[in-house]
């Protein structure tokens, strides 16, 4: 099966380890991976801030880059969600809307692809830790994907997965919201971190670069002894 990897801008700049883990997990499952070199960013920073034209520039670049792919797989629920928004972004342009729909239809978040397309739930991963999982809003509510990460994590040997209180509440990232509304975002991320601490977990796992950057940024600033990992890092672990 041919899979095009969309590593995302955060993945390429900051979370290369997660992107590499994702490549290795998918290869082990028999996928042939290519990395279309025209890829940059899904355009969400501009789209969510109201800069539709600038977001369209980013989106056109991504559509042109990925439209000949069979499957587009990305380690971010939010960026996958943005690809799904493309048809609406081009609601006034029938030609681009059709191209956008084509790309949207074959886009999957990493765990969603493994469980729903490949039909695999057991990856042979081993990771010894007490952990909890942060459900990202866009993955849960735009992609409507809630089950796949848990199906995969529940089969990781050595991983004790603890329930997270108020897991449905946003962590306060929200793209530019995190810098435009700092005092509100701060309260949201603090509440999230508090709930994570209350679980007693040593590791927080998430499937979204944005949430990861936000929650980890706050945890590290506060000096809390909790590691924050992308789910690909756990699923590719063998020890």
């Amino acid at each position: 099966m041919k899979v095009s990897l969309f590593a995302t801008c955060l993945g390429e700049l900051f979370y290369q380890e997660a992107a590499k883990d994702m490549v290795e997990v998918l290869e082990r499952l028999g996928c042939e991976i290519d990395f279309p070199r025209g890829q940059i960013c899904c355009g969400q920073p501009a789209y969510n801030s109201g800069y539709r034209k600038d977001a369209q520039k980013a989106a056109k670049q991504m559509i042109a880059t990925f439209e000949s792919s069979d499957y587009i797989v990305t380690p971010s629920g939010s960026c996958a969600g943005m690809f799904k928004e493309y048809p609406r972004l081009f609601r006034d342009d029938a030609i681009w809307q059709e191209r956008a729909q084509n790309v949207a239809d074959k886009t999957y978040e990493f765990t969603q692809f493994i469980v729903n397309v490949l039909g695999v739930e057991e990856l042979g991963a081993v990771y010894h830790a007490k952990a909890t999982y942060h459900t990202s809003c866009h993955m849960m509510r735009l992609l409507k994907e809630t089950g796949s990460p848990f199906k995969l994590l529940n089969n990781v040997e050595g991983l004790e997965l603890l329930p997270l209180e108020n897991s449905y509440d946003c962590c306060g990232f929200g793209g530019t919201f995190a810098v435009k509304m700092v005092p509100i975002s701060e309260q949201m991320v603090d509440e999230k971190v508090r709930h994570v601490e209350e679980t007693g977990a040593d590791v927080l796992i998430t499937a979204d670069g944005g949430c990861l950057m936000n929650i980890k940024g706050r945890i590290d600033r506060e000096g809390k002894p909790i590691a924050v990992k992308h789910i690909a890092q756990i699923l590719n672990s063998r020890s």
Binding site: L5, C9, G11, L13, F14, Y15, Q16, E17, A19, K20, D21, E24, F35, R37, G38, Q39, I40, P45, A46, Y47, N48, S49, G50, Y51, K53, D54, K57, A58, K60, Q61, C137, R141, L142, N166, Y168, D169, C170, G172, G174, G175, F177, A178, V179, M181, V182, P183, I184, S185, E186, Q187, M188, V189, E191, M213, N214, K216, G217, R218, D220, R221
Partner: protein, 479 residues
């Protein structure tokens, strides 16, 4: 007064709210408490079948009604008129108030009782009637408390005094209304009840809002838990109901669906204690009810949304389900929004009704987590409408110039692979002086706002593209 709350700028209001630890705890407790109740009365209630189908039906009814608004408004007003009631269409709050002032003056009314109504808050009716010598007495318990406080305003469209605790309420009633008891809710309520009894009996006019007008019969439906709407509509000879122009249903059959959606979504009740339906029968000797009935239908900027992407915002039935799940509202409460319409629906409605100059910042007070859209019983795509507001805010030139420049640069950067390639190679080197212990604590430029409260990740030194190239050549695995 009217729709706007307070004069302070947005971020000052937010700071005030964040300092109010009691208020914030109440908001969090209310949200956490209501969540379970709502689930039990919606997707958890097997007796009603598939909740999603109810939402679909609600959306369909609202869409149909709004698409045929002229028709149903005419039918409603014809039926009210046939039954001897008066109907007044007010384009603005001022027109609505002027009409109601005139009615009060003709009756020489000195006292009016009022059931809870957001649209009368929106138009500032209490002040308008006070100007012509008619005092409006709030009879909903929460509104009664806020009125006693004098300058307080609702912080939640269903639970107006959510920001006040029982000891604050005791203090208010002691100071302003001669209360001498404890802060026990039962005792406080009994006091309000005894005070209101005389007020109900002596009112010259009864004023209500309108949860739903029923077009086929010319009725006004009021959904309450305290029964005060019954008292307001049964004692005085004159009744004035004020209705937002979109708040109607075609027939009683649709009313049944909407009342279910409203009470289950708002407070997790299968049905509220009272659903009061008033159909005027003016001139009929055989029935109770008002001798004089006025239905005031308020546009107040709503028609600006018709035919636009915001038309579905008019589908709102004011249940506050979106407010009750909003993580921003959870921390800042209602007053920070500066509008009587708060939370996600407030951030969508307020700029439509009151303009971007006054309310343009509200659509940014959302992380776009879409919990609102998920909760809405009539499926308004609230988070999408917040983005649409932001687009208009930018298009109309309200946005910060430096942000505009940054986004133009983003658009170019995100569509020019050669630039991004340079960035992935150059950023780690460029950022190196800022990195300490694996992250950046004091960012520059736009990063500065990020690092005010969090660490910024250090750009990785490996180039992913280079790794991938070598990897696919049969080379490196990574650890």
């Amino acid at each position: 007064m009217a729709m706007k709350i307070g004069e302070k700028p947005f971020f000052d209001r937010v700071d005030d709210a964040l300092d109010d630890t009691f208020m914030r705890q109440s908001m969090a407790d209310a949200q956490d408490g209501l969540r379970g109740k709502k689930i039990a009365a919606t997707e958890g209630d097997e007796a009603i079948g598939d909740w999603e189908e109810w939402r679909n039906a609600g959306e369909e009814i609202r869409r149909h009604t709004l698409e045929n608004l002229d028709y149903y408004l005419e039918q409603l007003s014809d039926n009210v008129a046939k039954r001897g009631g008066h109907v007044f269409f007010a384009e603005t709050a001022e027109e609505a108030n002027a009409y109601i002032q005139q009615v009060a003056q003709e009756k020489n009314a000195k006292n009016a009782t009022k059931a809870k109504s957001m649209v009368t808050e929106e138009i500032g009716l209490n002040e308008a009637l006070s100007d012509v010598g008619c005092q409006v007495h709030e009879t909903d318990l929460a509104e009664y408390i806020l009125q006693a406080e004098e300058d307080d305003r609702p912080s939640h469209i269903v639970v107006p005094s959510l920001h006040k605790n029982k000891s604050q309420i005791r203090d208010t009633l002691t100071e302003k209304a001669g209360y001498t008891g404890t802060d026990q809710p039962e005792e406080l309520t009994a006091f309000a009840r005894s005070q209101l009894r005389d007020v109900f009996m002596n009112a010259d006019i009864g004023i209500t809002g309108c949860n739903f007008g029923v077009a086929e019969s010319g009725s006004v439906s009021l959904v309450t838990n305290e029964g005060n709407a019954n008292m307001v509509t049964s004692y005085p000879e004159t009744q004035i109901s004020v209705m937002g122009m979109e708040r109607l249903v075609p027939t009683w059959e649709e009313l049944d669906v909407m009342v279910n959606l409203l009470s289950r979504s708002a407070v997790g009740q299968k049905i509220t204690t009272y659903v009061t339906n008033v159909t005027p029968e003016v001139g009929s000797a055989s029935v109770d009810g008002p001798k004089d009935f006025h239905l005031v239908i308020v546009d107040g900027g709503r028609s600006k949304a018709l035919g636009t992407e915001f038309q579905s915002a008019l589908h709102c039935i004011r249940c506050a389900a979106c407010v009750n799940v909003c993580p921003v509202y959870r921390h800042v409460g209602g007053h920070a929004y500066g509008s009587i319409y708060q939370g996600p629906i407030g951030a969508v409605l307020s700029p439509i009704l009151g303009g971007y100059e006054e309310y343009g910042e509200l659509p940014y007070a959302s992380s776009l987590c879409a919990a609102c859209t998920e909760a809405c019983p009539v499926k308004i795509p609230l988070h999408e409408q917040l983005i649409r507001h932001r687009e208009i805010y930018v298009e109309e030139g309200y946005a910060d110039k430096s942000e505009q420049a940054a986004m133009t640069a983003f658009g170019i950067g995100a569509s020019t692979p050669s630039l991004f390639k340079i960035a992935t190679k150059g950023v780690p080197t460029f950022a190196k002086p800022l990195v300490q212990d694996g992250s950046i604590s004091n960012g520059l430029g736009p990063m500065k706002l990020w690092t005010k409260i969090r660490e910024f990740p250090a750009p990785g030194h490996d180039n992913f593209r280079k790794w991938f190239k070598e990897h696919t050549k049969g080379g490196s695995r990574h650890e």
